[in-house]
């Protein structure tokens, strides 16, 4: 069966018109009658015991309608890792202690935002300041202050992976090297600051509109922290202005909006400032990665030993996932017969880190890909050739963890080598110019049920109508990436109807079918897409019978759906309009609407993902040897994202990833001194501007993944990883400076050149 033309098409986002005209509604755009404005009081200390809170002056301020502290709450610890209660360590408002500068201590709602902020300043908190630690090394040192009583020594969790007899394999290695890499903490820097608006519903229920990637997770954890049945909490995701992993947990303002809406009987809205986001918001983990690799003289990898310290910050958040994924990505891309990983997740008094685009991969692959480039230099083997010699292939496994059923890594390497003129550019040295390479791999959704959901990982409902239209209801969350369009492409392809005839309702926990774990781990296309296929095929079963009745078909016939028609595949003239077919089916069902649910849960797919993407990137730079300024001149990317469903959306994901990787490589770092972020503005936390972004050529390596809908795999995160190591290699190629630390600032380049 051929792939319908809408699969792979360049279809603009179906909601694009609303976005370009300013009509698309984001949470902070909403205003409800009687709405109150919230503000949060945060800890000024990195580590302190709360001895006393006096809210009386705040309450007395005219216009203030409610003030809450930890004492008003149920004091239940919560977190996304419901599967392991031990690492659910966060409170919606601080209980007894604060663990980072910015930890939420109290909240106020008032008639206007200024009054709410002023009231926060009137809350008196008496702290007993405790000694604090700001690096993983300090936190693990003998006698370090304990940040969480349950974890003396500050080791939040460890994760080990080991196979293949590592020590023995290293004895056979003819070449061994060990390097240590340091990567900083960086911000998601989504353009829309977090915002949440809650309104009380009848019967003690509550509705929350929030800028989230995970309405279901927010619903469940909000119900738990409010002490309400899940079904009393309705979470709606309006338009979301980007997330990148930063909006996938229940957060204090979401709780406080709902809690105070219930307490006051009025809608309450919280919207964060950019300073809140940069100074206190979730962020990507800073890590120290010590990597040891052993090879034969001709460049065959024999063993790898990776030891990683992750800076948790004051709370665990998604730490267990981070710790596991770094180890997983440390073993990816190449056939590594013997591998050992030890990841230690360490509490510090820095703002908590959590999921961010690429989750674990940017760090693991910066270390791994930089190290491989160093190996190539020392062994005198071209870095692309070295990669090809060791590249994973379809069917390869990370033992006990995952299997790559499709793998276009080798093809991607060959493509960027040829398309970039690599061989010639690498051979012909030009002053200040350099070219570098790195590879990447990523998951197409996670299979590990850390949220411990009892529902399917993703679900949808499809309804079809006698006017030829359909309605897709899904809890999958479009946060800008375009999944609302991609899912409709899949449905349109299956039902053979015009995509514009499909209405979509998404991200409303009271309306869309339970459940969907959200937008993270590049899971939506594969998982929610499979659920759409499931539902669509059930609908098609209902409709096919109509043709069999109508034409008295032989049992061996198949029914096709295309061009808004339903017809006998072998005899296309025998058929009818899609709407007419629905009408006839409806008659046959004596009025029962045609609706079907679809589900997807990855089963028996190891510990990581049902499908891995792969990619390779070659980057050309020019380095000003006098100023150390690096200009990225051209990016060549080849990416195996299976069969792209929407080619333009896939390109957009790749280019967005490159942008983020570019910032990670050269400019971004939340400069944190004693737990305080020193550059909490977009003026001083520089994400690349349009002028910084290089031209980018991308090439799809099409593999047909057996698990993905129409063979699709992920596209949204893999490419965030290779940019930094490829730039690092290009800088080395240009001026001979190796970087084991990000970002590679002009200062570091000049230090490497011995000029500072």
């Amino acid at each position: 069966m051929s792939t319908p033309p809408i699969i792979g098409a360049r279809i603009p986002q179906l909601g694009a018109r609303e976005k370009v005209t300013g009509q698309a509604v984001y949470t902070d755009d909403m205003k409800l009658p009687g709405m109150l404005y919230g503000a949060i009081l945060r800890s000024p200390h990195a580590h302190a015991r709360i001895k006393r809170i006096d809210t009386s002056k705040a309450r007395a301020l005219p216009g203030v309608k409610d003030v809450v502290t930890g004492d008003d709450t149920l004091k239940v610890a919560y977190g996304n890792w419901r599967l392991v209660p031990d690492i659910q360590d966060e409170y919606v408002l601080a209980v007894d202690k604060v663990r980072y500068v910015g930890d939420e201590v109290a909240a106020v709602c008032a008639l206007d935002a200024d009054t709410a902020r002023r009231a926060c300043e009137l809350i008196e908190v008496e702290y007993e300041v405790l000694p604090a630690v700001f690096s993983v090394e300090e936190a693990l040192a003998e006698g370090a202050p304990t940040i969480r009583a349950e974890k003396p020594g500050n080791l939040s969790l460890t994760r080990e992976i080991e196979y293949g007899g590592v020590d023995e394999a290293f004895t056979r290695a003819e070449y061994v090297r060990e390097d240590t890499f340091r990567v900083p903490t960086v911000s998601h820097a989504y353009l829309e600051p977090c915002s949440a608006l809650a309104a009380p519903d009848e019967g003690g229920r509550v509705t929350l509109w929030t800028s989230t990637q995970t309405p279901y997770i927010v619903q469940v954890l909000l119900a738990k922290t409010l002490g309400l049945p899940e079904n009393h909490v309705r979470v709606i995701k309006p338009q979301v202005g980007g997330g990148f992993g930063g909006k996938m947990e229940l957060r204090t303002w979401e709780f406080c909006a709902a809690f105070m809406a219930l307490r006051t009987g009025r809608p309450v809205k919280f919207t964060l400032t950019r300073a809140d986001e940069l100074a206190y918001g979730r962020r990507r983990h800073a890590m120290v990665l010590r990597s040891k690799i052993g090879l034969t003289r001709d460049g065959v990898i024999l063993a790898k030993d990776l030891d990683v310290l992750l800076d948790s910050g004051g709370y665990n958040a998604m730490g267990a996932t981070a710790t596991f994924l770094v180890g997983n990505f440390g073993a990816m891309l190449y056939r590594i017969p013997a591998y050992r990983y030890l990841g230690r997740y360490v509490y510090t008094n820095n703002p908590p880190a959590s999921a961010m685009r690429g989750f674990g991969a940017p760090q693991a692959l910066f270390a791994g890909e930089c190290q491989l480039n160093m190996v190539a230099e020392e062994l005198g083997i071209d870095p692309i050739e070295l990669r090809i010699r060791n590249a994973m292939q379809a069917g390869d496994s990370v033992p006990g963890v995952a299997t790559a059923r499709t793998c276009g890594f080798r093809e991607a390497l060959e493509k960027v080598r040829d398309a970039s003129g690599w061989v010639e550019k690498r051979a012909r040295k030009r002053p200040g110019k350099g070219i570098g390479v790195a590879g990447c791999s990523f998951i197409s959704g996670g299979v590990f049920n850390w949220f411990d959901t009892k529902y399917h990982f993703t679900s949808c409902e499809v309804r079809v109508f006698e006017d030829g239209t359909a309605h897709l209801l899904t809890m999958a969350s479009d946060i800008g990436q375009g999944s609302d369009t991609v899912l409709r492409q899949i449905l349109a392809a299956e039902l053979g109807i015009d995509i514009h005839k499909i209405r979509l309702t998404a991200g409303d926990t009271a309306v869309t079918p339970k459940a969907d774990l959200g937008t993270w781990g590049s899971r939506v296309t594969l998982m929610a897409g499979n659920a759409v296929l499931d539902a669509a095929r059930k609908i098609k079963e209902m409709l096919a019978g109509v043709l069999f009745m109508e034409y008295d078909l032989n049992q061996i016939h198949d029914v096709a759906f295309a061009g808004d028609r339903v017809f006998v595949r072998a005899k296309p003239k025998r058929g009818m309009d899609f709407g007419e077919c629905v009408y006839k089916a409806l008659r046959g069902r004596r009025g029962e609407p045609l609706t079907a649910f679809g589900y997807y849960t990855p089963r028996d797919k190891g510990l990581v993902t049902p499908a891995f993407s792969f990619g390779a990137q070659v980057i050309e730079v020019e380095v000003d040897e006098d100023t150390g300024v690096v200009s990225v001149e051209q990016v060549h990317t080849a990416h195996d994202s299976g069969v792209p469903i929407n080619t333009m959306a896939v390109e957009g994901q790749l280019e967005g990833s490159i942008h983020m990787g570019l910032g990670y490589a050269l400019s971004e770092e939340l400069i944190t001194v004693e737990g305080r972020v020193r550059n909490a503005t977009f003026l001083d936390y520089r994400i690349p501007a349009a002028e910084d972004m290089p031209p980018s050529a991308s090439y799809e390596i099409v593999t047909r993944d057996p698990e993905g809908p129409y063979g699709a795999k992920e596209a949204g995160e893999g490419l965030v990883s290779p940019t930094a190591p490829a730039i690092a290699e290009a800088i080395w190629d240009a001026v001979g400076v190796r970087s084991d630390t990000l970002p590679i600032t002009p200062q570091r380049v000049l230090e490497g050149l011995g000029k500072l």
């Binding site: 005209t21 353009l191 338009q239 375009g482 333009m648 980018s696």
Partner: protein, 179 residues
């Protein structure tokens, strides 16, 4: 129009009264009472409910709040609403000539994938409109420099640059056709 609190002699002026402003936004005239420190972005969003103007940083760094005042792009989060009195303000809601049509820039952003989450899009379009107003046929560098005040975290900008280029070419062709 000065409020009572600013009359001569009123040195110890507390509290400062709201004042009534006459604003012209997208060709419509509004009367709103605002405090003197209220930003244009706040008035557009909270009073006029023109929420296509976004506030991404409130510090003039991100460009999501870009609007045109007398045809020039400004960061409305750093622009006092009182300063807009007597001037023409154009927001993303007024970029197209009529409500049922799109500006060629808007069409190009849709067609070329110049948007993802949409939060920066309004500001990005207003900056693009300003660019084309003084440089109708910009080269790639001019487009990138023209968008220097607009951050985007989703697209990596390249499809935005393509969109502006396509719109400029279309506008130039239309201009040529009618001349």
């Amino acid at each position: 129009m000065r409020g009572k609190a600013s009359e001569p002699g009123g040195q110890k002026t507390l509290p400062v009264a709201k004042r009534v402003l006459e604003l012209t936004v997208n060709g419509d005239r509004y009367e709103v009472a605002v405090e003197p420190w209220t930003s244009l972005a706040q008035v557009l969003r909270d009073e006029l409910r023109l929420t296509g103007t976004k506030v991404g940083c409130n510090e003039g760094d991100c460009g999501a709040c870009t609007v045109l005042v007398d045809g020039r792009s400004v960061s409305s989060c750093l622009y006092l609403a009182v300063e807009a009195e007597g001037r023409d303000v154009t927001t993303i809601e007024g970029l197209a000539e009529t409500p049922d049509t799109l500006h060629p820039l808007q069409e190009a952003f849709i067609e070329h994938g110049g948007l993802q989450c949409g939060f920066c899009t309004g500001g990005m379009l207003m900056s693009s409109a300003f660019l084309l107003s003084h440089t109708p046929e910009p080269d790639e560098g001019e487009i990138r420099r023209g968008l220097s005040g607009n951050l985007c975290r989703c697209t990596g900008y390249n499809k935005i640059v393509e969109s502006v280029d396509a719109a400029a070419k279309r506008l130039a062709a239309d201009e040529g056709g009618t001349a």
